[in-house]
């Protein structure tokens, strides 16, 4: 059974044909060509597929496609400014060595964004908790946590959309 889904992706209206049993991840990757969200496990365990739905970080591999109708989705492709300038969280990941193989990075950045949107001054423990659903095998998380702290500081100084 296919349906046409209407929702907002990265600020733009989208209409996509999707099967009832599809996940949001599949709609994004195959329906819209937004391959920044990755499948790492397909079971909601690794967080590589994290996107924001109405501002909350969700595992898009578990999120039923049909439930996205009428909602606002932000993927990693929608985070940088229209002129290509990186979002402060993205820039901090680059500057602080938080990226190695990069497969977890889009999900990690979006989980960090969901955290900083609701909690602009998190301590290290809060960052660790917020990112606990995003597995990274390369970095040991230290530089990721450092990047999120640095991004939080930048965002407090220069508020960003």
């Amino acid at each position: 059974m296919e349906q046409i889904l209407h929702f907002t992706v990265n600020g733009e209206a989208a209409s996509v044909r999707a099967r009832a049993d599809w996940s949001l991840l599949r709609v994004l990757r195959e329906g819209l060509g937004l391959t920044g969200a990755k499948e790492g496990c397909g079971a909601g365990e690794c967080g590589a597929c994290t996107v924001l739905v109405d501002g909350a970080a969700v595992n898009s591999c578990l999120f039923p496609a049909l439930e996205v109708a009428g909602r606002r989705v932000v993927t990693i492709e929608g985070l940088a400014a229209p002129d290509g300038r990186l979002h402060p969280i993205q820039q901090a990941f680059v500057d602080h060595g938080a990226v190695q193989c990069g497969y977890c990075t889009p999900g990690m950045v979006l989980s960090a964004k969901a955290l900083l949107d609701r909690s602009p001054e998190p301590d290290a423990g809060a960052i660790q908790t917020a990112l606990a659903g995003n597995i990274c095998r390369c970095t040991g998380y230290t530089q990721i946590i450092g990047a999120v702290q640095a991004a939080a500081k930048t965002l407090r100084e220069v508020p960003h959309g």
Partner: protein, 771 residues
Amino acid sequence: MADLCTVGKAIPKADASEKVVGRTVYIHDLVVPGMLHGRILYSERVNARIVAIDVSEAERVPGVKAVLTGDNTPEIRFGFLKDNTALKKGRVRQYRDEVAAVAATTPEAAAEALGKIRVTYEDLPAVFSPAEALAEGAPRLHETDAKGKPVKDNRLRLPWKVEAGDLAAGEAASAFVAEGEYDTGWVTHCCLGTSGVIASFDTKDNLTVHSNTQIPSLAKNDFLEALKAMGVKGRVRVVNAAVGGGFGSKLDTYAYEYIAILLAHRTRRPVKIVFQREEEFVATSPRQPTRIRIRQGCDREGRLTFRDISMVLDNGAYTSWGATTPTVMMMPSTSLYRVPNVRFHATCVYTNNTYAQAMRGYGTPQVTFAIESNLDELAEKAGLDPYELRLRNANQAGEVTPQGFRPKTCGHRECLEEVARRLNWAAAKARPRSTGRKARGVGLACLMHVGGGAKIYKSDGCGTVIKMDDQGRVDVFSGSMDIGQGLDTVLRQVVAETLGLSTEHVNLVIGDTDVCPWDVGVHASRSTFVAGNSALAAARTVRDQILAFAEEVLEAPREILSLAGGQVVCREDPSKNTPLEKLLRKAHYAASGNTMFMAAEFFEPQTNLLAGDFKGDFSASYVWGCHGVEVEVDTETGHVEILKYIAAHDVGKAINPMLLKGQIYGAGLMGVGYALTEEMIYQEGRLKNPNFRDYKILTAADAIPVEPVLVETDDPAGPFGAKGIGEPGLVPTAPAIANAIYDAVGVRLSALPMKPEAVLEAILARKTGER
């Protein structure tokens, strides 16, 4: 080296900005026009004869373009001993054996077809441990070797033995001897990006393989051999997508890659196979389990007298690089600390378990767990402080180790001292053992590893081609590969430094065998050293070409010319300074003798192939390190918390301190997982926990406060003094923690992982023993 501009700087990883915007293309993201989706049917039995396979129903599923089995395809043999085949014919030996494969227009059709293949098996008796496999009358995994020669038992015919000095004399000179047995189990890489491939043939039977391999050049050779077995005459190109993590998992070719090739050839369409997570757990090859026996001794002054190690490795049903890890385990066995009389012997045994491969550290985490745990036991027997014992026997530059290694630089002692100082070792050791619920303790352990390549293959080399364009920019083609570790950035820094450019002006092309020179692969922590030296040599050649031309054009002697800041700089006459691009155009568009500046260099470390008696200098440089840890053990739950973690490493020279620390942080946490939580649970050959819920890798919530200490020893053989550092960070983690647990609660954990239940059991057993 005070005036370095680029080398030594914390420059962000070159591909990080693409990765943070989600634009980097991994194999999972790659779509080739006309592409089919391939899926593999794995064995439902652990050891059985295949009586019949019925694919007729599967073939009728709409969208299915091919169903292959061992019966309707040519045999493709692969692996270190060529004892594995792409699709199994007549016999399966492990649950992950590939029995059939499907290519279909959609993943759903492929999955549906898999479910309709009917396989009839006839079970055979199986063996699930080396002990069972070596028992009298045990069923044999293989009746013959790859050449058809009958084999008499399940022992692999591999000569993993090295001996130096006089073991008996060493033992006789010992005042104290410690012996022990240590067990390490299966753990796996858990790359976030699963394995995958797209194979496609053109009309002339030329094969393109989109891959995520760590070994583009060797994979190309493997695939060429497969074409030969298929009777196909085409050529092979391996093109890498971005690699979503390696850690050794992609150091060998796998059956799924050959199956994609077979499917693509049968259907004449591109075929993509990408592993799902469970498949990644089950069908890639983990670190091999070991049971290690060790004896070592020291004299009254605490000088090591001898070390004797023997081990048995569970090889699984087929042979990949896992079986060769003893060649690297020999290194710390014979040469970590100055110990004059040594013996090492390893036996690899076929079983019906999963077959093992390379994983970060290549055997050294297992053997170092035994050596360094046992060294603490020896220290206790000798009444010596474990730190003092280690310091007394620390390696030194200029020594020749019993195995014949000749380290030119050595930061062993400095690493030990850094750890002891930062851990307040003396004060911490003087603390009385706690009698309360929570007990604190400190422990340390050292490592030795190759830092200048490792000649375990006929060539340990890497090629680089460099060309300058007319705008003062440079294209570098390297045989090496970035798998997330930062090779992409380090090579840019090396070339930029040599040519006086900024890293933005260096374009790097890697991972395409059609344009990149040969390289043995990303392994043995060799890439910064070997690919770095290769890039350095090529860059120097280009620099010399440019300066020779500048000498003529600027009419200034060569000795006062150099490249810096994108210019040819004349030391004595700044008016002659010339932008590089101007000079390059002058050379290119000269009225006569037009010149483009290009260079090709192949760097082969001048080292000895490790073979025969396994003696000789098999790496151009060696690294040392010391990890110190403070733990708190909950004596009621067995939970071990890490309070402090110091990781001191002899790195030669940190070409990029930020990326280098990333290797230490990442390896450190992977090592903590190896020590405390990670375990593939196999029951009669079946993996019981093939997912991230039940296989416990550490999350951000478990991140530990690793404090890296970079000890720079400036190795004359390394590019700008650098040594390799990719693997060492997890090598001494488990014994450092085991030693700290012992210090805290007085129990010796001799098996990994040291899960809370194991720690608790040991604590309870000790209490019972005391009563």
